[in-house]
């Protein structure tokens, strides 16, 4: 349990209507077992004791499944580790005396609410536009009534691992939401239950993605590299194919 002392450069912004700036903080008495969010908790306790406004940041589960803990750490969404959310990032990956710059997700479609907190309801609107399957209510159907090949089930499940964090948008030089949208399309459209609405789904979700002001995909692959769930860009390829086919079919 080594002691750690850090300099933090953090984006402070009081509200979406005000402009923000970086503030620098010194924190010591940290240890390498802490998670990145626990490190920020220590900073916030210090700030509260000094009668200063604590740094606002999003978090919920702190176990890598809710996707809330959005922040760009030294230029990398969720920090430098592969397949890791900020809450699962541990301070042992930093060195004593390091300076760490922490910024919010940057995208027109993710306006800053306060400090590091951004509004990701653009993602919700994309899901609302078509990211569902319609089912009749009534008695629960037999879970095994529809046979699904293992490989397809696996592929759909891999897409469903997306936690909607928005790191793909944050990392993309075009602020494109293609990885998120394609994963949310594939998790339904690969399965038999997703077939009836397949064409409409891809059309509506892509239209909403464009409408929200996300950029286009230039296949840099930054999203896949930064995604904490390591979602594959192959879902983007599938989305392109499905989108084109569904429009050609009319």
């Amino acid at each position: 349990m080594t002691d750690l002392q850090l300099t933090l450069n953090i984006w402070r912004q009081r509200s979406s209507s005000e402009s923000g700036k970086f503030e620098s903080y010194e924190v010591d008495n940290l240890n390498t077992h802490m998670s990145f969010l626990e490190m920020l908790d220590v900073l916030n306790e210090n700030l509260v004791e000094e009668n200063k406004e604590p740094v606002a940041f999003d978090h919920d589960c702190r176990e890598g499944i809710c996707g809330m803990c959005s922040m760009v750490i030294n230029g990398r969404p969720h920090g430098p580790m592969k397949g890791t959310t900020t809450c699962q990032l541990h301070m042992r990956h930093f060195k004593n005396g390091d300076t760490i710059t922490i910024e919010p997700w940057r995208a027109k479609a993710f306006p800053v609410v306060k400090d590091l907190v951004v509004d990701r309801s653009s993602f919700d609107r994309i899901i609302q536009s078509g990211g569902y399957v319609s089912v009749n209510t009534g008695s629960a159907p037999d879970g095994n009534a529809i046979p699904i090949p293992k490989s397809i089930a696996e592929e759909a499940f891999d897409a469903a691992a997306c936690i909607g964090c928005g790191a793909c948008v944050a990392s993309c030089k075009n602020a494109s939401a293609s990885l998120f949208v394609s994963a949310k399309i594939s998790q339904l459209s690969l399965l038999p239950q997703g077939q009836p609405e397949k064409n409409e789904r891809v059309k509506k979700m892509v239209a909403q993605m464009d409408e929200e002001g996300f950029g286009h995909c230039t296949n840099t692959g930054a999203c896949q590299a930064e995604c904490p769930k390591e979602i594959s860009v192959d879902y983007i390829r599938k989305m392109n194919v499905d989108y084109n086919l569904s429009n050609i079919k009319g």
Binding site: S171, A175, G215, T218, K238, N240
Partner: protein, 227 residues
């Protein structure tokens, strides 16, 4: 359908198809240029006859119109998309991720492309404009006819070390543009199937290297020959 034509995905498809068409055009163009390796009167005659054919044949005319249209479409669409994606991130990051998550070429397509556009303009001014509208020197053939001497124009252009250097730098820009571009286009049109990812990557990167390298070898050869 209305949404389709203004969607980012459709525009990307057009950018990819025009880019791939231009890549095929380059292969054809390269095959023609290779004739510059034939030396002496024989090479001069062959190249000039080829140039005459290329400026008069109706099928070539049609292809050339397609090529101009592709360049225009590609440039307008890609620059428009690059502009739109700028707007998608009004406030940038203080710390850049650099190339830790993506290749240098993929992050600099617009700069590379703009350099290529500059090259295309200079290149067309030097050869295409001269051939069509310039005061060309003539080569007199054995059968008494005369023919525009593009061979002389070309070989003498590459006497100039600066012009030769510019050409070589442009081919490096082309290599970097294609290094990301070919693979990206294959992905955009949906053909980068996971099972073939490795071989496709090798093919795309070989194309990206071999086309510009072979193009560049010609002015290097002409420059050294003229020393």
């Amino acid at each position: 359908m209305n949404n389709y034509f203004t969607s980012t995905i459709f525009r990307k498809i057009l950018a990819a198809l025009s880019g791939l068409f231009l890549t095929f055009f380059l292969l054809g163009h390269l095959a023609g240029n290779l004739q510059l390796f034939i030396s002496g009167v024989e090479g001069q005659t062959q190249f000039n006859k080829y140039a005459l054919f290329m400026t008069t044949n109706p099928v070539v005319k049609l292809l050339s119109i397609l090529t101009y249209a592709s360049i225009l479409l590609h440039v307008v669409l890609t620059l428009y998309l690059a502009f739109k994606s700028r707007q998608a991130r009004p406030i940038g990051y203080a710390v850049s991720s650099g190339n830790s998550n993506s290749s240098w070429s993929s992050n600099n397509m617009a700069i590379l492309g703009t350099f290529l556009l500059l090259f295309i303009i200079v290149h067309m001014r030097s050869f295409w404009y001269e051939m069509h509208f310039g005061e060309m020197p003539y080569q007199y053939l054995d059968d008494g006819t005369k023919i525009k001497d593009l061979y002389l124009i070309t070989t003498s252009a590459f006497n100039n070390p600066l012009y030769t250097l510019f050409y070589i730098l442009s081919m490096i820009a082309l290599a970097l543009h294609l290094k990301h571009g070919v693979g990206s286009a294959v992905q955009t049109i949906g053909l980068k199937l996971p099972n073939y990812e490795k071989p496709l990557k090798y093919i795309a990167e070989s194309v990206a290297l071999i086309i510009p390298a072979t193009f560049a070898s010609i002015p290097i050869y002409l420059y050294i020959k003229n020393l």
